[in-house]
């Protein structure tokens, strides 16, 4: 009777029903309100961008897994490539040409993810690495944004968007000038280089109450989605809270020193990709720190770098670079913030 009759796998014997797939699906769900708002303000271009990015992400994912001889179905089912693709699509312009997604997803999935060892092994956030590469390499294509539909005299329909994305043909009534100055941070950057003051720049119709027109609403929905993720315990409160607080605290002195030249804290928080990054990108567990103290340092670092790049750098938005630089520092922060174990007091 010494033969094994029952399964002898080790404890815990009653597993929890949480899975990576569920985590990723929760993230996607949390993004839906913001995606809807985005479509409301900027039109259907985003849907096309998401579809293209997801397509290329899965395409590169399958090829990489095949070349690396890893189980394809198992890793496709985790939905992590889809999350990367959606985050990337949310960062780029809704009318960016299709090959932006192609190149971005190549660097995100093949370089940032699989060359570093695949799911869970990457040092850089894949979506941010892909975004940074296309931002640096194709600044012109990346700076083309649509104005908010409310203030635009011509709203691009689905067909217009498709033509813009696939053959780069814009309707004749949409001028190139409005396209390139559409994002609030862009117009601030250009405005300041033309020696305009912030208050003069923010009189432009692309600005709303405290951020960009439309942008501030999308940011609100990212905030709501982020709260949902914190409630679901998918992300910790530490990174978003420290990023938002540090952005306010760190940008305030600049703004007080010279309000004409430096953006105000609220403008910082509600512009560009900060809200998206604070809740959805910087919180990517693989590429941030592991200890609670480390997460707080990470968040502070992202915020400081973002503000510095926005104020003093050449790029209108610095969140992506802030995150990538902090991704690089995360292992070192981890090394210095090993928490004291139970009973390990002096």
């Amino acid at each position: 009777m010494n033969n094994t009759l029952f399964n002898t796998q080790s404890a815990p014997h009653i597993p929890n029903k949480n899975t990576v797939t569920k985590v990723m699906l929760t993230v996607i769900c949390a993004l839906i309100p913001a995606i809807m708002a985005h479509i409301y303000f900027f039109g259907t271009g985003l849907i096309i961008q998401i579809l293209i990015s997801v397509f290329f992400a899965l395409f590169f994912e399958v090829i990489s897994l095949k070349l690396l001889k890893k189980p394809i179905i198992l890793f496709i089912k985790d939905y992590s490539a889809i999350v990367t693709a959606i985050l990337f699509a949310l960062c780029i312009s809704p009318v960016a040409p299709w090959w932006i997604s192609f190149i971005g997803m190549f660097f995100a999935i093949v370089v940032a993810k699989h060359l570093f060892g695949g799911l869970g092994q990457n040092i850089f956030n894949p979506a941010m690495l892909g975004f940074a590469i296309v931002l640096i390499s194709f600044p012109q294509a990346m700076s083309v944004w649509l104005p908010v539909q409310e203030i635009s005299h011509y709203n691009m329909g689905l067909l217009d968007n498709l033509r813009a994305i696939f053959i780069q043909q814009f309707p004749s009534s949409v001028s190139f000038d409005t396209l390139t100055q559409a994002t609030p941070l862009d117009s601030i950057k250009t405005g300041i280089s033309q020696e305009l003051s912030i208050s003069e720049i923010t009189n432009s119709p692309v600005f709303g109450n405290f951020g960009g027109l439309g942008w501030e609403w999308i940011a609100n929905f990212y905030f709501l989605g982020g709260l949902f993720l914190i409630y679901k315990k998918v992300i910790s409160w530490r990174i978003p809270v420290t990023i938002l607080l540090t952005t306010v605290v760190f940008s305030l002195p600049f703004n007080l020193y010279n309000a004409d030249h430096f953006i105000g804290p609220i403008q910082h928080v509600f512009s560009g990709g900060l809200m998206l990054a604070a809740f959805f990108i910087a919180t990517d567990p693989t590429t941030c720190c592991s200890s609670h103290k480390g997460l707080i340092i990470f968040g502070i670092g992202v915020a400081i770098l973002t503000v510095l790049i926005r104020e003093f750098g050449n790029f209108p938005d610095g969140v992506a670079f802030g995150i990538l630089l902090m991704n690089l520092s995360a292992p070192f922060i981890d090394k210095l913030t090993i928490p004291q174990a139970f009973g390990q007091y002096e």
Binding site: N7, S10, A11, H13, G118, L119, S236, T286, F342
Partner: protein, 513 residues
């Protein structure tokens, strides 16, 4: 001695932990059942990690209930008594129900069902017993911790500086309700047992810790305490969070103090005892019954009549499963202990031992992983639940990369293997397996290093000795040289001798001619 003050309204807490479904009402709705005497008893001689008792019976011996069948082989050992009367039919190496599912020497007793007692040691004048008497009784009763680790109880009472006795009634693992059953059925015996333990330890106060999910037990115990005017025992409810029943976690919740890493509660002047151990001591002092039975929960979704049983130590798992009407077809896993830390048994022909608090029979649906194991995504859920503030994902990372020393730096040895990290892991990684592997590997490496260090020392000593002998030889030769004078004189002497021999030879030759 450290004074420990506990304020029931201001309990402390530990990091993380889990809120698990209790699954305890099924067994507690039924009364405590007495399990019948099985045909065979498998008495494991294994005490706890590495300690095995020495058998003092041989095959064919007739044994009586309560008779000593094994004696301690080392100071850390313990006595083992026959749970019922019968014949020793074999002494063999067999799978045991011990936490590490080791094989160990097992005395198999074929019972005669007469349950005949041997001469019981009756103790008179219980009031007059002093501390040493009670500690001796603890040893003679073969008491080991009934909570899980099986540490021989008498070893806890060595220190003089014990201020507080904590009675651990917090059964934090799901399904297990044997301690709760004891508290419901034997409150008076438990209070009496606590008194004996207080006397043995010299502690001033006892704290009876219960989970806040238990029903009317607290009021019942408090009524007894009030009736008998006892004021050095207090009953405190702790939040039901897994693993609040771990002794270090329980101490932290109650007192806010942390047992130092690598240390024991005794370092804080605290002794923690499981309620089962208290009851067993009372049984021995009052009725002369050594530790030969215990309350065990038989539950799980493959059991038709989940119940708590008072069962003899050594009763085969199969016997208890049949009493609880289990469904063998539906059973995928048989577990000794709880679903979080218990060990899966390969078959049911294994005797329960003193530490077995629960038998779980679980179906495949209930034990199935919801998805295939994926790589760690470093989500940090494990960090949030770890009750000893570790970074489980970092430990996993280092162990997977065979960087074990790094894992040690990240306090691997403070891990209590509660399984909370593995439970929350969305990638379904069996994290505790990795930690166990790394711990045993590191212990082995340390052992090897110690051994090689020792042989290095031996080697150095040998070299030294050889050098010394060589030096001595040279010195001796020098001495002889000194005694015999300079080399020229030696040469002359030698020449003289040679000449003498030559002369003698030539004289001899001449004589011959």
């Amino acid at each position: 001695m450290r004074e420990i003050n506990i304020n029931p309204n201001q309990l402390s807490s530990f990091n993380g932990g889990l809120h698990l479904k209790h699954h305890k009402t099924d067994t507690l709705n039924e009364p405590l059942a007495i399990a019948s005497i099985p045909d065979k008893l498998y008495m494991s001689l294994r005490i706890n990690r590495g300690n095995i008792s020495k058998p003092v019976v041989s095959v064919g011996d007739i044994v009586l209930k309560g008779q000593i069948i094994a004696v301690p082989d080392s100071p850390n050992g313990s006595y083992i008594h026959a749970s019922s009367s019968g014949i020793v039919s074999a002494i063999t190496t067999k799978q045991t129900a011990s936490p590490d599912t080791d094989f160990a020497t097992v005395v198999i007793i074929t019972t005669d069902k007469k349950d005949q007692w041997c001469q019981r040691p009756l103790i008179d004048n219980i009031e007059k017993l002093n501390s040493q008497d009670i500690i001796t009784a603890i040893k003679n009763a073969g008491l080991t911790g009934l909570g899980g680790a099986g540490f021989p109880t008498h070893l806890k009472y060595k220190s003089e500086n014990i201020s507080t006795l904590i009675i651990n009634g917090a059964e934090c693992e799901p399904y297990i309700s044997c301690d709760q059953q004891l508290m419901i059925d034997f409150p008076q015996q438990l209070i009496d047992g606590i008194f004996l333990m207080l006397k043995a330890s010299g502690a001033k106060q006892a704290i009876f810790a219960l989970e806040d999910q238990v029903g009317g037990i607290k009021s019942k115990l408090e009524k007894i305490l009030a009736e008998q005017n006892i004021n050095n025992i207090s009953i405190i409810k702790v939040p039901t969070i897994y693993p609040a029943g771990g002794e270090k976690q329980l101490i932290k919740v109650l007192t806010g103090l942390e047992v130092p890493s690598g240390g024991f509660p005794i370092n804080l002047g605290i002794i923690v005892q499981n309620v089962g151990t208290i009851k067993a001591l009372n049984d021995f002092i009052k009725c002369g019954q050594p530790l030969i039975d215990r309350v065990i929960t038989v539950a799980g979704d493959a059991i038709n009549q989940p119940q708590n049983f008072k069962a003899l130590i050594g009763t085969p798992i199969s016997h208890l499963l049949e009493l609880a009407k289990y469904n063998p077809k539906n059973t995928h896993k048989i577990i000794i202990g709880g679903p979080m830390m218990g060990f899966a048994m390969p078959h049911t022909d294994i005797g329960i031992d003193k530490t077995s608090n629960c038998i779980l029979a679980l179906s495949k649906e209930n034990t199935q992983q919801p998805a295939d194991t994926l790589p760690c995504i470093r989500c940090g859920d494990c960090v949030n639940v770890c009750p000893v503030n570790l970074l489980p994902q970092q430990l996993f990372w280092y162990i997977k990369g065979e960087n074990l020393e790094k894992a040690r730096e990240h306090h691997l040895f403070d891990c209590i293997e509660c399984g909370a990290c593995a439970w929350v892991c969305p990638s379904q990684i069996k994290l505790v397996d990795y930690y166990r592997y790394a711990k045993s590997e590191l212990k082995y490496l340390d052992f090897k290093r110690k051994k090689s260090d020792l042989s290095q020392v031996r080697h150095n000593l040998r070299d030294e000795r050889l050098q010394r002998l060589k030096d001595e030889r040279i010195a001796k030769r020098k001495n002889t040289k000194l005694r015999t004078g300079d080399s020229a004189k030696i040469k002359r002497d030698l020449q003289a001798t040679l000449d003498r021999v030559k002369n003698a030879k030539s004289i001899r030759d001449n004589q011959h001619e």
